[in-house]
């Protein structure tokens, strides 16, 4: 109950966005099974939201350390290209997945070393790979869209287990595993302590250097999974466009999910809800049938409203208002204080 209350702003926002979608498209919640797979607009939201949701997992941890990872979109392109060229040259799906994950890990460790060992500001450190990464991906695909027909790899993008599309299973599994690891151990708290005050946590014995490399490595791995899914989905690695601008969507999802860019406290579940809010907006716009010139304006307007509602200034005003009302009737309860 308590945890639900913690996500109340995000869940309410998601509910409102979904309701808006239902209003522009009455069949929004209709789900059926077609070709042995769940089929419906709600499934599309979960499925299309997979890349951003995966990026969000890594991005949340990075942002919790007061960092940022701008390179995830380009890392997606690199890893998608690695996976595609592996199956293209005869490797199987497991080989492709392992090499893609390895590529993501290397990219992540590179970012981590720049940030923690060389002390470069995260925004600049990851900007390097953001710019250069797409070039690396283009080198791998030789500038063209590298298409493939490997059933195993295609399964990662458009297959299904128990009628649930693979991308949905992957992002939910990654979300649960990472949440479990950081919350059942002290890891999450240590990451938060770095975000609040890196020097103080180092003095109190936290190995900030290793932890920083670790969070960027996790971000790289998540980007690798997202890139593989994106390539498998269209059966081709598109170095120019895969993951383009998705780093911004991921950062937005983390912020909408309730994690501050100033580091410290973070919530993975909130970020994942944030990712779904953003995808619901995208899907809703497509279903609405408005001319495409309005897409960005509608999206921007909805996000501005969400951020204003969630802004600390408005929140404290609301709590003040609620407290005043409630103290008028009943004594201050536990709820009013929280």
């Amino acid at each position: 109950m308590n945890s639900l209350k913690r996500y109340a702003p995000q869940l309410t926002t998601l509910a409102i966005v979904l309701l808006l979608n239902y209003l522009v498209f009455p069949d929004f919640f209709k789900i059926e099974i077609a070709n042995g797979k769940l089929y419906g607009t709600l499934i599309d939201v979960l499925n299309r939201g997979a890349p951003v949701a995966l990026l969000c997992v890594g991005m949340t941890l990075v942002i919790a350390t007061k960092g940022i990872d701008l390179s995830v979109g380009a890392v997606m392109a690199i890893c998608g290209a690695v996976a595609a060229s592996t199956v293209d040259s005869g490797g199987g799906v497991f080989m492709a997945l392992s090499l893609a994950l390895l590529a993501g890990l290397i990219c992540g460790i590179w970012n981590g070393v720049l940030v923690s060992v060389l002390n470069i500001q995260p925004i600049i450190a990851t900007l390097i790979l953001m710019v250069a990464g797409r070039g690396i991906a283009q080198l791998i695909t030789e500038g063209a869209i590298l298409t493939f027909n490997d059933e195993g790899l295609i399964f990662v993008g458009s297959g299904s287990i128990f009628s649930i599309p693979m991308p949905i299973l992957i992002w939910i599994a990654v979300g649960i595993i990472v949440t479990f690891i950081v919350r059942r151990t002290a890891l999450g708290m240590l990451i938060e302590s770095i975000g609040i005050n890196q020097r103080a946590s180092t003095f109190s014995g936290v190995n900030a250097r290793v932890l920083l490399i670790l969070v960027y490595a996790v971000s790289g791995l998540c980007a690798a999974l997202a890139g593989t899914i994106a390539a498998a989905d269209i059966r081709g690695a598109d170095a120019n466009n895969a993951g383009l601008w998705l780093e911004l969507d991921a950062i937005l999802a983390v912020v909408v999910g309730g994690t501050s860019l100033l580091g410290g406290r973070f919530t993975l579940i909130g970020s994942l809800i944030g990712a779904m809010i953003i995808q619901s907006i995208n899907t809703g716009i497509l279903l609405s049938g408005f001319p495409p010139e309005f897409n960005l304006i509608i999206k921007a307007a909805i996000i501005v409203i969400i951020l204003v509602i969630q802004s600390p200034a408005l929140q404290s005003k609301y709590i003040e208002y609620r407290d005043r009302r409630e103290t008028g009737k009943t004594p201050v309860g536990k709820d009013a204080a929280s």
Binding site: F25, D44, I145, D233, R235, N241, L286, P292, N295
Partner: protein, 319 residues
């Protein structure tokens, strides 16, 4: 003895020099934008090929998307004393001063696949495609394909506000004028496969699982390839349940057409250099001035063409 040797070597040098000048009758400088897309890579390949076939010495300069690199390339072409310059301009503005220098040097300039805002006496001619015409070819094909019957079309637009997106839409609507074919949904998919698939999924859901859709028109082949997968995953047959027509003619759409999953594509030919060389030859031979705009060919390909042969031809061009 010594003198003999010198004379002999002088003779050798002279013949080499003579043979090189006669073989390299024409030198053309080509300033290419870069290699940002498969189409541009194919354009570069074909331009080099055309020059080789015609025995022209082509000096190639890749500008890597930067106008200052193109301006530098043009100045170095002047210094090298080339006979003509081809430019694929990366932007439309800022060409006046360098083109005046080229003009003073007496070198004709031909623009490839894009035009510029400068006065048209600064260049000989421009060879470009007509996006409106391409769209109308696609539209007319669709009207013929459905025998003038009613047909609801969904449209995947290119990047909002880009010239190809605006003009291919306009042209398609011109092609449909007076028929019972109409566009029921139109949305941008940014010229990419991923977006093509995502937007098509939403079209299918919004139009009764695709039952109301008779045809798909995509502003480029990549979006069509993505959309074809969405149609298949929705349990429909692209190519028969939903007709697919798109523009560009990249190799992958020929694969789809051979599988019966796409119906027609209008070619944006990467051969802009062919007509440019023809115009240049005529101009250098007897001073024939070409028109200021040469429209490149926009061919329609359908299942009636030898798709395999065209695919084989295109797949090595660097698309």
């Amino acid at each position: 003895m010594f003198l003999k040797k010198v004379l002999a070597s002088a003779a050798v040098i002279a013949t080499v020099a003579l043979s090189t000048t006669s073989a390299l009758a024409l030198t053309v400088g080509f300033s290419q934008i870069g290699s940002e897309s498969g189409w541009r890579a194919a354009e570069t390949t074909i331009t080099l090929q055309q020059a080789k076939d015609r025995g022209i010495d082509l000096k190639f300069a890749d500008a890597q998307q930067k106008q200052e690199n193109q301006i530098k390339a043009l100045r170095s072409f002047i210094a090298q004393g080339v006979d003509a310059i081809f430019v694929a301009p990366v932007v439309a503005t800022g060409w006046d001063s360098v083109l005046k220098e080229v003009k003073e040097a007496g070198i004709p300039v031909i623009l490839l696949d894009r035009t510029i805002d400068s006065s048209d006496d600064l260049y000989l001619t421009a060879v470009t495609s007509d996006f409106i015409f391409e769209g109308s070819v696609a539209g007319k094909w669709l009207v013929d394909a459905v025998d003038g019957k009613e047909c609801s079309v969904v449209e995947l637009q290119g990047t909002t506000g880009s010239a190809p997106a605006i003009e291919r839409k306009e042209g398609f609507e011109q092609g449909l004028a007076g028929s019972k074919v109409s566009i029921i949904r139109s949305q941008t998919a940014d010229f990419t496969r991923t977006k093509g698939k995502e937007v098509m999924e939403s079209f299918l859901k919004a139009e009764g699982g695709g039952k109301n859709i008779c045809a798909l028109y995509a502003h480029n082949d990549d979006m069509a390839v993505g959309a074809i997968q969405a149609i298949k995953e929705a349990g429909l047959k692209p190519g028969s349940d939903i007709l697919v027509v798109s523009i560009d003619a990249v190799p992958d759409i020929f694969k789809a057409m051979m599988a019966g999953e796409a119906n027609a594509t209008v070619e944006l030919t990467p051969n802009m250099a062919g007509p440019a060389f023809d115009a240049l030859d005529a101009f250098l031979k007897d001073g024939t001035l070409p028109p200021k705009w040469i429209q490149s060919e926009s061919r329609l390909y359908t299942k009636d063409d030898d798709l395999q042969a065209i695919y084989d031809l295109k797949k090595d061009l660097g698309y």
